[in-house]
Amino acid sequence: MSVPVLSVRDLRTHFFTRAGVVKAVDDVSFDLAAGEIMGLVGESGSGKTVTGFSLLGLVDAPGRIVGGSIKLNGTELVGMSQRGLRARRGREISMIFQDPIATLNPMLTIGQQMRLAMEAHERTSRRGADTRAAELLSQVGIPSARERLGAYPHEFSGGMRQRVAIAVALLHRPSVIVADEPTTALDVSIQAQILFQMRDLARETGTALIWISHDLAVVSSLASKLAVMYAGRIVEQGPTATLLRDPRHPYTAGLIASLPATAEPGAPLSQIPGTTPSLLSLPKGCPFAPRCARASDVCATDPALEARGDRAWRCFHPVGLSEGAVS
């Protein structure tokens, strides 16, 4: 494998609230190579979005990164000044949000916004900026891009707005783009178009992509590798197809088995009992243990991340391996 553009080690982001310390991200590590797409999967409160925000240095008080390292193109981001982070944001790493309205200024035309975003990091002429903006817009699938530079965000449909947000994120050809559920609010037909284009863009431009989602199917059709998060930790990671076909962690296995697409129509679905734990009162040891059919006494201690080849999991009783193989 080539040198990673992004290397995250033992990342911890905690929130210090009046009710206690919320360990939103607790010991997260992964590597990302140029042009690679990684899916970051988890349910609400699993820490997937906070992980994304941490990578861009966008965690606001009462939260902060309390430990670990984020190396982007070899430079350490943890502990870097806000100024240094701002210089990198947009140019080396950028983000696409679920709601594009939040990132686009309603008072400026698309062309103006893209020009401003360009000028933040480099000098450009007006004409040069417009040409590049139009190129990018047509690259992300906006028809008659040149004319639409003069349009305001509200004149675009939800899908088109998200494309604009993607174009803005791509402006400086960043090494890494973090996409936080960018297609969740969109219709399936539009989602399919955007997924299709993102895959091509990552391949063409060499931009690495972290795709945050709760939808296994979406992520599986896009990413070459997956990281599954539960209660602030990565519980399993590995190549997409192998991980989904042959999951090791009981949580991953349970998630896959509970999808209606994998079941006989009308039959009861296999379900994970219980509810996601509150990050304020996590059970001791493995946080999934109370919902886990395979849990035993040993699960009251913290399982370490166990790596085997290109896969890793955090479980004492992994699925699909005989007990003897573990010890």
């Binding site: 399936v188 037909s189 539009i190 709760h214 599986s220 059709s221 197809a241 509970s258 697409a261």
Partner: protein, 334 residues
């Protein structure tokens, strides 16, 4: 086939909500939007007793509006909805309790300032299904049936997780002892690991209580799992309706085919990543839908007639209808 729930030629349009000032401005020639949106136009369908009909389509296709028309939340502009021969609405008012609704977002559909037991009890008390004195036991029974601890009746909604709240919402609907249940995206806002729990609960209750259901969802795999027949909507019209397995495997309408084709599937084998067949373009504005077949500008099979004539829903196979001039050609593609 005996129709238990019948929807006959139902339409619903929405006018813009203009203020007096805007109305005057419009009269004076200002560019105020005065066009009406035809959210549902000329929909007819029937559902058998105990059957679940899935209703799918993209946002703005009118599936939620149709659900609300059937549920008696909105009065139709035209047409009627009947349950077992009795109308759901008369003179703009809902006149039956035989149809109840489970809403999408359990965080919004429960009154945050009312104890959940009261939320479940107030409807049955108001309609004489239980008395104030017996309400506690009545609610406890329903709490038990949806898998909630009856001791929780005195709690407030914020003390529950999303899945638990949706169970409360289901209990509220079922405590009215309805014959027909409208489920409007009941699992869309729940976590993946919770969705299966709610779907299982729904399947079990539907069977136990012999409920007739309309299950609205944008998630095709969920609809396929729970329904017997499915109706596909596009811009206010039903474009295809039939047994769920047949429609999913061999769509008779090009839109159905394209919609199903664009759903990402779980890739379990192959290192090759997916093939998509994204539909070209976007859904046109419902303010000015294309003439003829609404789908023709995006349709690979479109011909001249599609831009001129609205295709009627017609039989294309045993028990299946589709609104397409080229349904036979579409069926041939498989």
């Amino acid at each position: 086939m005996s129709a238990f729930l019948s929807v006959a030629n139902v339409s619903r349009s929405f006018g813009p909500n203009l203020t007096t000032g805007e109305k005057i401005a419009a009269r004076l020639g200002a560019s105020v939007e005065t066009r009406h949106v035809q959210a549902v136009s000329g929909v007819s369908l029937t559902v058998r007793k105990g059957e679940t009909l899935g209703l799918v389509g993209e946002s703005g296709c009118g599936k939620s509006t149709l659900g609300r028309l059937i549920a008696g939340i909105l009065p139709p502009s035209e047409g009627t909805v009947q349950i077992d021969g009795a109308p759901v609405m008369q003179g703009g008012r809902k006149v039956t309790t035989r149809v109840q609704t489970v809403f999408q977002d359990p965080f919004a559909s429960l009154d945050p300032r009312m104890k959940v037991g009261m939320t479940v009890a107030e409807g049955p008390i108001a309609h004489g299904l239980t008395t104030k004195a017996q309400a506690k036991a009545y609610v406890a029974e329903w709490f038990g049936r949806v898998g909630l601890d009856p001791a929780w009746v005195d709690r407030y909604p914020h003390q529950f997780s999303g899945g638990q709240r949706q169970r409360i919402a289901i209990a509220r609907a079922l405590a009215m002892q309805p014959d027909v249940l409208i489920c409007d995206e009941p699992v869309a806002s729940l976590d993946v690991s919770i969705q299966a729990q709610i779907i299982n609960l729904f399947l079990q209750l539907q069977r136990d209580l012999d409920l007739t259901c309309v299950f609205i969802s944008h998630d095709l795999s969920v609809v396929r799992h729970v329904s017997e027949r499915v109706a596909v909507m596009y811009l206010g019209r039903i474009v295809e309706l039939g047994p769920v397995g047949q429609v999913f495997e061999r769509p008779a309408h090009p839109y159905t085919a394209a919609l199903f084709g664009s759903v990402p599937k779980l890739v379990l084998d192959a290192d090759e990543l997916v093939h998509f067949e994204p539909i070209e373009g976007e859904v046109p504005s419902p303010l000015s839908p294309p003439p003829g077949c609404h789908y023709h500008p995006r349709c690979p099979l479109a011909s001249e007639v599609c831009a001129l004539d609205i295709p009627p829903l017609r039989d294309v196979r045993e028990g299946r209808v589709a609104a397409c001039h080229h349904a036979e050609a579409q069926l041939q593609r498989y």
